[in-house]
Amino acid sequence: MTDAATPFPTQPSEFQKGDVVIRCRNITKSYDGRPILKGIDLEVRKGETLVIMGGSGHGKSTMLRLMIGAERPDSGTIELFGNDITALREEQLYPIKRKFGVLFQSGALYNSMTVGDNIALPLREHTNLDEHIISIIVKLKLELVGLRDFEHLVPSQLSGGMKKRVGLARAIALDPEIIFYDEPGAGLDPVMLAVIDELITGLGEKLGVASIVVTHEMDSAFRIADRMVLMHGGVILAEGTPEEIRNSPDPVLQQFIQGKAEGPIPLRLSSKDFAEDLLGG
């Protein structure tokens, strides 16, 4: 499956399997004075799949946006391939951005372009390959996600799951060394989910791609993860291998991975007492 990813003339990476490719230190971020991240430390190694879990509103997506350089943290450093991206200007970030791919939650396809052009865009913009080669790479990447016949359609003609698969094909167009996945399972049927899971682990094992996966799908998370972290209330509550996480006695962690309604995680986010609020106190 991953043979398809090799014809692209990428330079051999200077990073070996096991080297740290992402290192976040003491990241804080707040929006409108509301702290979302309160000091996050995170490391991801080449060839490893890290799953980030956590309830909605607990900072997973924010963390992802910071790591891809879409936003800057209030404090702390984020090193990608040894470069602190929080200290770089936009143009200095470009060479680093070319070495990672992102699969967005909705796929985020460019709606004005065909499926084929969506995947070809990074190749046209960042390489000197001629159109003939680019069209071959586009076909290879589409075959990888099982959508080779859809090259000439536009995104509005695709279902949500298909858009996501095209989004993945686009994310791996430049054969990145790191791939970020924002909820790759949402909106996919179980079979397709398994295919994507296999793709993620395959990219990691065979090509040494580091994957950072933000997800809610527990089955899928345990299937693909080499390491897992649970973000809760802006901090990392637990970190470990799937085995360690499964056997952890932490009640919050257990409630989350078993998906129970009752437990220590508060359902209601209000600060005031309910009765007090109703009676106008």
């Binding site: 891809i68 951005k97 990672f100 967005f104 985020a108 460019y110 865009l121 990074p122 913009e125």
Partner: protein
Amino acid sequence: MTALAGLGRSGIEVFRFVLSCFALLYDFLYWLAVAPWRGFPVRVHESARQAVRLGVNSIPIVFLVNFFVGVTLAVTVADILRLFGPVEYTGSVMGVGFWRELSPLLTAIVMAGFAGASLAAEIGTMKVGEELMALEASALNPVRFLCVPRLIALLLMVPVVTLFGNVFGIYGGFLVCTGLLEQSPTLFWDKMLDSMKMKDIWVGGMKSVIFGAIVGLVGLAQGLRVRGGAEGVGKATTNAVVYSIILIIAADCALTIALYF
């Protein structure tokens, strides 16, 4: 007091927005003039595509609006001039009026509705759909990739379309003078050309470039700051048209006064 506070707040809001337009203009100039020397070329082909989409496709509407205003203006002016006698000067009013004032203004207002709204909706939808973030994540600056070609297209096409507007508007006046008022065509052209100066032409041209910049910057800046789904896109589209029209008329007023002397 609350009404006054509200007025103050929206005043600050508009001021902030105008500042963001200038920030976008600064970015535009950077990606147009500096970045190409650093290996980030301007997307010429895309600019041409946008020029067709935003400029050429607007010509039918510009024709209708300028033509009807041309006819209306000619009849109104002739009616007033008839009181004093020199009805043949209608041609002079048409020439100066359209070249210097009406065609730049009318065309820009049409473009605010036609192109400005479309830009705000397009860019806003892309923002909501994470497309702008996807561009950034693949090391493609959205301003360079999306805004620069669209703004180039408008800066080139608004003056061109304004030129068409002149022709359509004056043609409307010409039909009134030769048909309704039974003047000879040569009299109309002679009177028109006699009263026109080079200044009328360059003032009109300059206005159309500035108005093109306003339509483009306001539409794009509104699109870029969209938040929160479909409602945000709708609001940005409305704002793009409203802000463009206000700023165009304000700029026109200022330019007309400044260039009177």
